[in-house]
């Protein structure tokens, strides 16, 4: 069924390509059905179309508000006519069709894989020569970050500011109090608390119906692996089919967690938890909100999750309603036998889609300059505040560096994030938007995490990433469940190298790290 759809789309794409082949040089092809405002300025404003994935909801309901104050302000300030094209579904297919049809948007936010594929096809503009002009932008995201937009040796993409890594163990404080235990600080203590939560009836209902730890997928054990200085290879809060980041940058050198001798110790430790029956037997099949639902229902006392899933008002309401005595608190990452502690990974790759410009802009210097101006503007303090919070003294008030969002702002600025083309100062932004949760956000932001580089790496030809990822996840799971004895760990690595050509990948990691100058 999927494949039939693919064929149909390809056909459409090729027809489009055939029809519009000779008009691809024509002026501006942005006739997308967006609610473009009529040009208000006097001198001809330059039309710019931005295409990205997602959807917005404003005070007026789904979609942009009638009075789109951010767009108005940007149009006025820069004398442009901005068109926002948002695609909530099948974004990759839609942008492929646009690119193939020779009607690319002027500015797009796309994934690293798309950048790679477009770069190979030569449809993206090499931004290297224009970096000098992008001063405000470079300063905003940081010169080291800008390098992460380099694909195949050229600056085909511009990364946005990095996101915030979140996620840590949360624990039922009231259960701890009931059992007269103190919050666990080491792996050993964590085990004892989880055991007590399972066996000593922490909710006092006289039934043995509670468990220790839950979470979604292998990441449930991120802090446990972290206590041994390794990572099990899932993204911070990922599901079961996510990619496997395992290349850790430690002490200025890149190393692969799978080859780290501590990996065996970590797996053995996790096995101890699973064998003791203190872990959700379904932690690997939990999807979406299942783990959280079970925890909120009072079945589990410890969960691996981020602040936004646990302590935002909506979430608090859910677990308070289920149990008025419930009190979820954050735990710092537990210390391992060697004193190491990491709450998860810190992905050094771009955390969001990257900015890219079509090659056709090369012949439209005027428009290109306006886009550069736009990117610079939303990177300045003034411009960034506009796209983060709205209009000054209407949606927010500023005194020095402190921003306070007004009541009107809370109501109306829910959609402005789509204008954050170059990103935002994440921590400040979140703390301003969620002042009540500021401490929790800060707590998770400051937890130590293992820096991994995998997302920066180009997948080498001949390396079947999906197969290797599956093999790694499956085998690690088998070690955790004791289906394969840990003594056979070296055999696992051998198979990984021989059958899945893992060496191609580790070589590519080293090459990337050298190119980006990440090792010191």
């Amino acid at each position: 069924m999927k494949l039939k759809a693919v064929t149909a789309i390809l056909l459409v794409a090729s027809l489009l390509a055939a029809c519009s082949g000779n008009k691809s040089q024509s002026e501006n092809p942005s006739e997308s059905p967006s609610n473009a405002p009529s040009p208000s300025a006097s001198a001809d404003p330059v039309k710019i179309e931005v295409m990205q994935e997602g959807s917005v909801t404003s005070a007026d309901g789904p979609g942009f508000p009638k009075d789109d104050f951010v767009k108005k302000e940007l149009n006025k300030k820069l004398n442009i006519d901005l068109t926002m094209t948002l695609e909530a579904s099948e974004f990759a297919t839609k942008i492929n069709t646009r690119m193939a049809g020779g009607t690319p948007p002027d500015l797009m936010l796309i994934s690293k894989d798309q950048i790679q594929s477009y770069a190979k096809n030569g449809v993206l503009l090499d931004l290297g020569p224009y970096l000098d002009k992008l001063g405000d932008y470079s300063e905003f995201v940081g010169a080291d970050e800008v390098k992460k937009g380099v694909v195949a040796g050229k600056q085909y993409a511009l990364p946005r500011t990095n996101g915030l890594e979140v996620g840590t163990y949360w624990i039922r404080k009231d259960w701890l109090d009931h059992l007269k235990l103190s919050p666990p600080t080491t792996v050993e203590e964590l085990f004892n608390v989880a055991k007590a939560f399972t066996e000593n009836d922490p909710d006092g209902n006289g039934k043995k119906d509670t468990f220790g730890i839950t979470g979604n997928g292998i990441s449930t054990f991120s802090p446990l692996f972290g206590a041994f200085g390794v990572t099990p290879g899932t993204t911070a809060l990922g599901g079961s089919t996510e990619s496997a980041p395992v290349s850790i940058l430690k002490d200025g050198k890149v190393g692969n967690a799978l080859y780290d001798p501590a990996m065996k110790d970590a797996l053995t430790e996790v096995k101890k938890f699973i064998d003791a029956g203190v872990v959700d037997p379904e932690f690997l099949s939990n999807k979406g909100n299942t783990a959280k639902d079970k925890a909120f229902q009072g079945k589990f006392g410890i969960i691996y999750d981020g602040w936004s899933g646990m302590i935002k008002e909506a979430a608090v309401k859910v677990w308070k309603e289920a149990n008025p005595n419930a009190d979820w608190a954050q735990l710092a990452a537990p210390k391992g036998p060697n004193g190491l502690q990491f709450a998860g990974i810190d992905d050094l790759g771009p955390s969001y889609n990257l900015l890219a410009l079509p090659k056709t802009l090369e012949k439209q210097p005027e428009k290109l300059n306006k886009i550069i101006e736009l990117l610079n503007y939303v990177s300045t303090t003034e411009g960034n505040r506009l796209v983060d919070y709205g209009l000054e003294n209407v949606h927010y008030t500023a005194s020095g560096d402190t921003i306070t969002i007004t009541e009107q702002g809370k109501k109306e600025n829910g959609y402005t994030f789509v204008y954050q083309f170059t990103g935002r100062p994440e921590l400040t932004y979140l703390q301003t938007k969620f002042p009540d949760q500021a401490d929790y956000i800060n707590f998770e932001a400051e937890l130590p995490r293992l820096p991994v580089v995998d997302k920066l790496v180009d997948i080498p030809e001949g390396y079947m990433k999906a197969d290797a990822d599956r093999f790694v996840q499956e085998q690690l799971t088998n070690f955790m469940y004791g289906k394969t004895p840990i003594a056979e760990y070296d055999k696992f690595l051998e198979t990984l190298e021989n059958t899945f050509s893992y060496k191609l990948y580790t070589d590519s990691v080293e090459k990337t790290v050298a190119e980006l100058g990440l090792e010191k």
Binding site: T7, A18, Q114, N121, G217, K294, D467
Partner: protein, 298 residues
């Protein structure tokens, strides 16, 4: 020529359908050639370079260390669904046909085909509510009876049964509709004659109803064989997890995981072609066998 003139109106009526088939079913087949090319979205289908070697993308599938497992899983799950999916629908249709109360018949029919319209996400939610190891209804009953909980959703030995079971539940009533229609087409005088001769209910079901719908059963079987390589991507993608990859990973989920990462259209097309060729071979063979018994489609 005279035949043409005589049947002109009929041909004209046929024309839109033929045009539709050509436009939407045959022309797109042109796109199949990208499975032999290094497809480049900008160069288009004809402009892309030929893959080197031409079987490059087929090789990618066949050379995957998981290929034999993927193929086994796909065929097994598909066959189970075929066998366990058809029989209950036929039985339900016969039972409904024998039901004396029209009201009961309507109710059962409506209720049993409703699940067909639920999406797999919802069905998975229902499955979790019943089968979850920690919170599921069935495991709570088992616990109360003193048995150990069973991990239906993440144990390799249970996973396929869960897939087939939920699939049967979802499409039971929907599948029965066509058999009911076929039963309605059986000449009532046959039943009357049999009753005169003293045949009981079971006898009539066995000797009149079943032979009466045999050709429909064969027809559906042959058509379904064409889709034998589609084991149900939508369902499995939602149901599976790392613990059951070994019994649940099928060709389509593999293509999704592999192709998604690299936007590999050529691979997707190659696998699609491979599946179609096998499906077509099966349909042709099955039809040949059926014709020997006088029941083929053409």
């Amino acid at each position: 020529m005279t035949a043409w003139r005589k049947n002109k109106v009929y041909y004209m009526m046929l024309f839109p359908l033929v045009a539709w088939y050509i436009l939407f079913k045959y022309v797109p087949m042109y796109g199949v050639i990208i499975s032999f090319k290094d497809y480049n979205i900008l160069a288009g289908i004809s402009g892309s370079d030929w893959a080197d070697p031409w079987y490059k993308y087929f090789e990618m599938l066949f050379k995957s260390p998981y290929f034999s497992q993927l193929l086994t899983n796909t065929l097994l799950i598909s066959c189970y669904k075929l066998i366990f999916g058809m029989a209950p629908s036929i039985i339900l249709a016969i039972l409904l046909n024998e039901s004396r109360s029209v009201r009961l018949k309507r109710w059962v029919q409506t209720l049993s085909y409703m699940p067909h319209f639920l999406s797999w996400v919802i069905v998975y939610g229902i499955a979790v509510a019943f089968l979850s190891e920690t919170t599921g209804l069935i495991n709570r009953w088992l616990g109360d009876l003193g048995y150990d909980a069973i991990s239906f959703l993440s144990a390799p030995e249970w996973f396929r049964s869960v897939l087939v079971g939920t699939d049967v539940w979802k499409d039971l009533g929907w599948g029965a509709i066509i058999y009911l229609a076929a039963i309605a087409g059986i000449d009532p005088s046959l039943y009357e004659a049999a009753m005169m001769d003293g045949a009981g209910r079971l006898r009539r079901m066995w000797s009149i109803t079943l032979p009466g719908i045999a050709n429909v059963i064969v027809l559906l079987l042959i058509l379904k064989l064409g889709y034998i390589m589609d084991a149900g991507f939508d369902q499995i993608f939602i149901f599976y997890n790392v613990r059951v990859y070994s019994v649940g990973d099928i060709i389509d989920t593999w293509v999704y995981r592999t192709g998604l990462e690299q936007l590999n259209f050529s691979l997707a097309a190659a696998v699609g072609l491979f599946k179609s060729v096998i499906g077509m071979a099966l349909v042709l063979t099955a039809n040949k066998i059926a014709r020997r018994w006088g029941g083929g489609i053409w």
